[in-house]
Subunit: 240 residues, 2 copies
């Protein structure tokens, strides 16, 4: 197959660059490795009925009341005032989350998710569901945008690394004419032998490590611990 | 010296991200490796009196007439209608450019230059003047933003590589708490053994190679062939 016959695979390193991409004709993968999308697949893997991503703490509280759901979300690394739970995947074991509805707001991930609403399909990606994401993307044969949630629009290491991991696994099925994708893959190749060591250089590691979240980070960098595909249907993330 | 005492060194991968940086309190290095900033230092190295960067072809023509200067610029890789010369560094040997004024407009570089106008100082960087840029930045002791001109706001390989080359050389003098800088350095480290081979993967290489510009690209990836410091003074680039 020539490059021309293959769908495109591109990496958008920041929500502030998303307008440069043809969102409407692509599947968009929302990537917020530390920790929103890692937590989303973990909660669904552990049996959550669905996850409703919302932009604001107010919405989170109000929808949570309406549905008698669990409300969760952080602002600057701490549980936001008025919410019950945080962004740690370890807060959502099966005995707690099974069959429950989770309403979730995060600083960066939900913002990007709302920005990408015109996409063919929105899914979420993170190391714990790496294989599920890759298999889905290859099976669909559509253009793909790997959308890094970043940190307040700043390019970050962990989301770029995950985008690179995906590129590295599925690139032969796509036309990759995107320097960000090539750079992300290169970064992943440099770090993959020990992602935890590699990410210690990153700004967000230092931010989270202050809160004692090294175990969270280790989990969020380990492939396939919660290998389901969260897919957005009518504004709700469910297992695809 | 602790990190806190050192000035910041950051990399801005696209003009569309420049608003995230503290331009006003930084020296901004404009990077447009293929080929505007490579050509700028080459023309100055070869004795050009000054270079006036302008945003539009119309301005270029009008200022060119006014000053009886050489007008140059490209749009999408070809000399723009109404202008005399292109973006190739080989168009500006000493016997042609010495003591002349060059009015230059480019797709990406001049745009970023105008966006960064509030910076403490603006200089231009490229491989042909790599050492001059590094020495200047270290000598100033100010915060630095390495500003990639990118390609129509899309992150590109060649500008990121140059930013990485600078980070790699001067990082110990700065506080580098910027994931883009770490990623750029990593990319440069992967490619530095043979930048020309490395960049063949890049989208812009393919664009320029179509026009037969491989020799331009080789020159633009070679360090210190025109080692002067272009510095912006009153809207004009002169040797600093």
């Amino acid at each position: 197959m020539t490059a021309e016959n293959k769908p495109r695979l591109e990496v958008c390193l920041s929500p502030a660059l998303l307008h440069l991409f043809d969102v409407k004709n692509s599947i968009v993968v929302i990537i917020d490795v530390l920790r929103a999308t890692s937590t989303i697949c973990t909660a669904l893997y552990n049996g959550a009925a669905k996850i409703i991503p919302v932009a604001s703490v107010e919405e989170c509280v109000s929808i949570g009341k309406q549905l008698n759901a669990i409300t969760a979300g952080e602002r600057d690394g701490k549980i936001a005032a008025g919410l019950e739970h945080g962004n740690s995947p370890f807060e959502y074991p099966r005995e707690f989350i099974e069959d429950k509805v989770l309403v979730l707001t995060t600083t960066n991930g939900t913002k990007l998710l709302h920005m990408a609403k015109d996409a063919i399909q929105i899914i979420t990606g993170s190391f714990p569901n790496l294989d599920a994401v890759c298999e889905y993307l290859v099976s669909q044969g559509q253009n793909v945008i790997l959308g890094c949630a970043a940190w307040k629009d700043r390019v970050n290491m962990e989301d770029t690394l995950f985008a690179g991991a995906v590129v590295s696994r599925i690139k032969e099925h796509f036309d990759v004419n995107c320097d960000s994708a090539i750079a992300a893959e290169n970064l992943y190749d440099s770090g993959k032998a020990d992602l935890f060591e590699f990410i210690k250089k990153a700004s967000h590691f230092q931010r989270l490590a202050k809160f004692g979240l090294e175990e969270d980070i280790r989990y969020c960098l380990t492939p396939n611990g919660a290998n389901v595909l969260p897919i957005l249907r009518n504004g709700e993330l469910v297992v695809g």
